[in-house]
Symmetry: C2
Subunit: 287 residues, 2 copies
C-alpha cells in the first residue's frame, strides 16, 4: 500500500487527508500552520516540519495549497520535495494553479525521475468532506492508473483530460463557466425584480427548462435569500479567473464575458467581500 | 367542455393544436398560410379564414405567433378577435412578445370583458410535440385556474409568475440565461481548444459538477460536433434578446453580458445563419 504525503491542510486539504486516513492509508502531513495538523495527528497522521522531510518517507505526495507560488515552493524550493524525493515518487498537485507553470514543474521533476499529475478539483468543501469531488487530471495516463484508487477515495468523478497542465485547463474552463453562469442568473433576476416581477417565481418557472443549471438552483437561491455564506469564496474565484484570463491571453483567445465576470469579482473583493460566496456579485451590482 | 380557437400554426403551434385535438377538444383554427391548416383539418379541426370569424364560435382563444405586432393584429386588428369575441372569452397568448405591449392589450381587451393571459413557453419543438413545455403565466390566477386543464395538455410545468406581462418577463429571463450560458460554454471550449486540450474531454470532466447545465450538455455537444441543426433558431433568439434588452432599458437595468450575447447573435444572423441553432455563435466567433 502506497505511503502518502499530504501538504496543505486548509478547508479542502484537511477533510481530504482525513478521508485517506480513514481509508487505511499511512498519511504524513506538513502544514505551514502547525495548528492545522492537530486533528489529523489525532486521527493517525504523522506530522513533519517541512515538505522536504516528508518526501523520502512516502511514495505519493499530494499538494493542496492556494497559489502557483505555493506549489513551486513546496515542490522546487530549498525545503521542497525535489531535494529528497526518490526517483519514482509521484506528485499529485490538486491545487488550482497555472497550467504553464505546471508543465514547467513537471519537466523539472521529471529530470529527477519524479512523476507529476495535475489534478485540480471542483465540488468545494462539501465535496472534499464527502469524498465526492470532481477531479480533472493532466499527465501520463499510466501514472493516473497507478494512483486511481487513491483519487477514488477523494472524488467520485475522475477524468483524464490530457497531458501535463490539461487538468488545470479544464479547471479554468470550469471556473469561467461558473462565473459567467452566475452573471447570467444575476442579470435575469435583476431584470425580473426591476420589472416588478417576483424573481423567486421566475427562478421557479425556469428550473427544469433549458435555462436550468446548478448555478440557477444553488446560487440563484443564495441571491434570492441574500445569503452568501460560501460555497466558494469570491477571493478564490477571482484568483482562478485571473489564471483563466492569463491563459486566454497567452493562447490568444478573447473572452469578453469572462472579463466582465472578472470585473464583477474585482469589485466584490475591493468592497471587502472576499470571504463571501462569489454569487454575492448580485448584491453589489448597481442597477 | 371549452371550445378552443387556435391561431398560429407554425413549428410550435401546429403540434400544440394537434395535442388539444387528440385530447378531445373542439379546435377552430386560423393560419395566415392556409396550407398550414391541412393536417389539422384532417385531424378534426375546423378552419376559418380570420381570427374575427373564430372569436364568437369559441370560449378560449390561444395565439401562438411570432412577434408583438402579429399578436396586436390578431387580437386588436380589424379582422381581430376584439371585433366579435363575447364577454367572458379568454385569450391565452403563448407567443414570446413584449411585456409592456401585453399589459396594454390586456387592458384593451378587458374593456370588452375579454380576459387575457400571457403564457409564453420554453422547451422548443420537441416540447410542443410531446406536450412537455414549460409555461410561464402572467394574468389573474382565477383565470389561469379555469384554463389549467388545457395548459396541462400542452406543458408539464405551469408556473403563475404574476400579473399581466409577468409571463413574458420570465420568458425574457429564460432567453437571457440561455444566451449567456451558451456564451459561457463557448468561451470555455474555445479556451480549451486553443490551449491544446481536447474540448470534449473538458466538457466530460465538467458534466456533473457546478459548471453543469442543460446548455453544457446539449449545446456543448452541438459545438463539439459542429452540428447546429435547431434546436432554437438564432433569428428567434435574437428577437427574444431584443425584447429582453428593451425591457431592461425601460426599467433601467444594465445587462452587459446579455448585450454581448446580443452582439454575437447579431453577427450570426448578419452572416446569414438565422436558421441555425443559436449555439452556432461558437462557429463564427473569431479567436
Amino acid at each position: 500500500m502506497y505511503r502518502i504525503g499530504f501538504i496543505g491542510l486548509g478547508i479542502m486539504g484537511k477533510p481530504m487527508a482525513l478521508n485517506l486516513l480513514n481509508a487505511g492509508y499511512s498519511v504524513s502531513i506538513y502544514a505551514r500552520r502547525p495548528e492545522m495538523a492537530q486533528q489529523l495527528v489525532h486521527a493517525g497522521a504523522i506530522a513533519y516540519s517541512s515538505a522536504k522531510e516528508i518526501a523520502n518517507q512516502v511514495d505519493i505526495i499530494i499538494t493542496m495549497v492556494t497559489a502557483t507560488a505555493d506549489v513551486e515552493e513546496v515542490l522546487l524550493g530549498k525545503m521542497g520535495i525535489i531535494e529528497t524525493a526518490k526517483s519514482g515518487t509521484i506528485v499529485i498537485d490538486m491545487s488550482t494553479i497555472s497550467a504553464n507553470a505546471t508543465q514547467k514543474m513537471a519537466d523539472k521533476l521529471a529530470k529527477k525521475g519524479i512523476e507529476m499529475l495535475d489534478a485540480p478539483v471542483s465540488g468545494g468543501e462539501q465535496g472534499a468532506i464527502t469524498g465526492s469531488l470532481t477531479i480533472m487530471v493532466g499527465g501520463k495516463p499510466e501514472i493516473l492508473e497507478k494512483v486511481h484508487p487513491i483519487l477514488a477515495i477523494l472524488g467520485k468523478q475522475i477524468v483524464h483530460v490530457g497531458g501535463h497542465g490539461a487538468g488545470q485547463i479544464a479547471k479554468a474552463c470550469n471556473q469561467v463557466i461558473i462565473a459567467e453562469t452566475i452573471i447570467a442568473v444575476d442579470e435575469a433576476l435583476r431584470l425580473a425584480k426591476a420589472s416588478g416581477v417576483d424573481p423567486a417565481k421566475v427562478r421557479e418557472a425556469l428550473l427544469g427548462g433549458y435555462a436550468n443549471s446548478r448555478i440557477l438552483e444553488i446560487h440563484g437561491k443564495r441571491m434570492l435569500e441574500n445569503d452568501y455564506k460560501p460555497g466558494f469564496k469570491a477571493g478564490l474565484h477571482r484568483k482562478d479567473m485571473h489564471l483563466a484570463l492569463e491563459q486566454a491571453h497567452q493562447v490568444g483567445v478573447d473572452m469578453p464575458a469572462a472579463k466582465y465576470g472578472m470585473q464583477c469579482l474585482d469589485r466584490l473583493v475591493m468592497k471587502g467581500h472576499s470571504d463571501l460566496d462569489s454569487s454575492a456579485i448580485h448584491m453589489i451590482i448597481e442597477d
